[in-house]
Symmetry: C2
Subunit: 232 residues, 2 copies
DNA sequence: CGAGGCGTATGATCCTGGTCATACGATTCA
DNA sequence: TGAATCGTATGACCAGGATCATACGCCTCG
């Protein structure tokens, strides 16, 4: 794959003129990470924007109490750590690869220069950050719902964004441990295990080696509204 | 106050050249709201960016279960509803005035045009959204801490941003009901009342008609770490 | 003035989900 | 091959905070 084509994989750069993409390709570099490797850690100085070429990444914060909370899952085309570029010099969260991942690193300076000369790119970034804000606000608004509601909403959101089908059932091709799920929902691993194994038995969500199968979408929607077995 | 001076009150526009500020002043209008009035409602179509000239505003989302969650408090100079300008056509949340409030409304089109011609303004907006992202991420990461921890963190954050002093004690000049506090912390009003009246008795935070006095900052810091009466 | 409404206060009870403990299969490594 | 480690599973117990109920002071308005 040419460096130019590589740059074109990032949504943000796709609409740039060819000469600008070439410029990006010239100053950026590709970095690879294995599953479990850290792209960057909370508190690290940030000198470049990283954008995902392929693979998946989780971004998380660690609480004083030692618990992790996963703030988001990112994949191909997504920029990661943009906040540190525009807001501070240090990353406010940690990023860890969920699988083999390749990223493009664009030096902060180059990015800012590009933004000065190409205002349309700024609009793209503003839209990306805004989308992210809406997502976090939405999560925050439901963070105190019952556990089942939070899990159901999570799987529904995943299902709508990155579904393939498997036996006519939606398949979510992303490998998350029970601990990962707990870290996303803000529960303990026990609660995560209990709920997921119950949903497995009830034929709602099946856990596979490399992802999840949504076997009963209707039940999930029920649960996401809070009117499952228990009410609220 | 001249229209030009009015525009200058908004952080975002302050660094603009005089001619640009004049342009903004020409196309925007000032709108007033009384305490309790809505600036806009979740789901409304958004045609302009609103920036606060004076007063205070709460931005909130309503859960399906009928509960409100306050996503943020905004004051003089802050842009509100920027997300709807860059990401979607509808507001993702509701904004309500906490006191008499004056706002500047800049039509979406004008703002976008301005951004195209003045990239530095885009950087200002990117920074503002990034700051907001960090704030929400931080809240999310602590949303499952004990109630006392959340309340303590909230008051500390307020204290550091908008403190005046009263009898040498930090005073937070913002009038929030127990229900408002509950809506911020994601608890019920009873929990809010119980904690606040206890803290009042213990001489930690005193509730006044028009704000709060932090009487024992050290105790608050203790609680924010989770090592108050109970541990975690 | 009395009635009603609102914000605050406080007690009794219940239940979700956290905590602690134990166990079991699969994989790795000595 | 056996020990150790990791992810998953499941039970027993507990407590933080939600829920339900009642009450009280203050303000507004008829």
């Amino acid at each position: 794959m040419s460096a130019l084509g590589t740059v074109g994989q990032i949504r943000l750069f796709r609409e740039l003129a060819r000469e600008d993409r070439e410029r990006v390709a010239r100053v950026s570099r590709v970095v690879s990470f294995e599953r479990g490797e850290r792209l960057f850690r909370e508190g690290d100085r940030c000198s470049s924007l990283v954008a995902i070429l392929c693979g998946r990444v989780k971004v998380l914060k660690t609480t004083r109490q030692g618990r992790d909370l996963i703030l988001g899952l990112f994949g191909r085309g997504d920029p990661v750590g943009a906040v540190a570029v525009f807001q501070g010099v240090r990353y406010p969260a940690t990023a860890i690869a969920l699988e083999s991942t390749k990223c493009l690193e664009i030096p902060k300076k180059e990015l800012l220069a590009l933004l000065e000369s190409r205002p349309s790119m700024a609009l793209g970034l503003l839209a990306a950050l805004s989308r992210r804000l809406v997502y976090l606000a939405d999560r925050l608004a439901h963070e105190h719902s019952r556990v089942e509601v939070r899990y159901a909403r999570f799987f529904l959101k995943l299902a709508e964004s990155l579904t393939r089908t498997q036996d006519s059932k939606p398949f979510i091709p992303i490998s998350l441990s029970r601990q990962d799920l707990a870290d996303i929902m803000g529960t303990t691993i026990e609660t995560s295990i209990r709920l997921m194994s119950r949903w497995g038995q009830e034929g709602i969500v099946e856990t596979l080696k490399d992802g999840f199968v949504i076997k009963d979408m209707a039940a999930l929607i029920q649960h996401s509204h809070g009117d499952g077995a228990t009410r609220e």
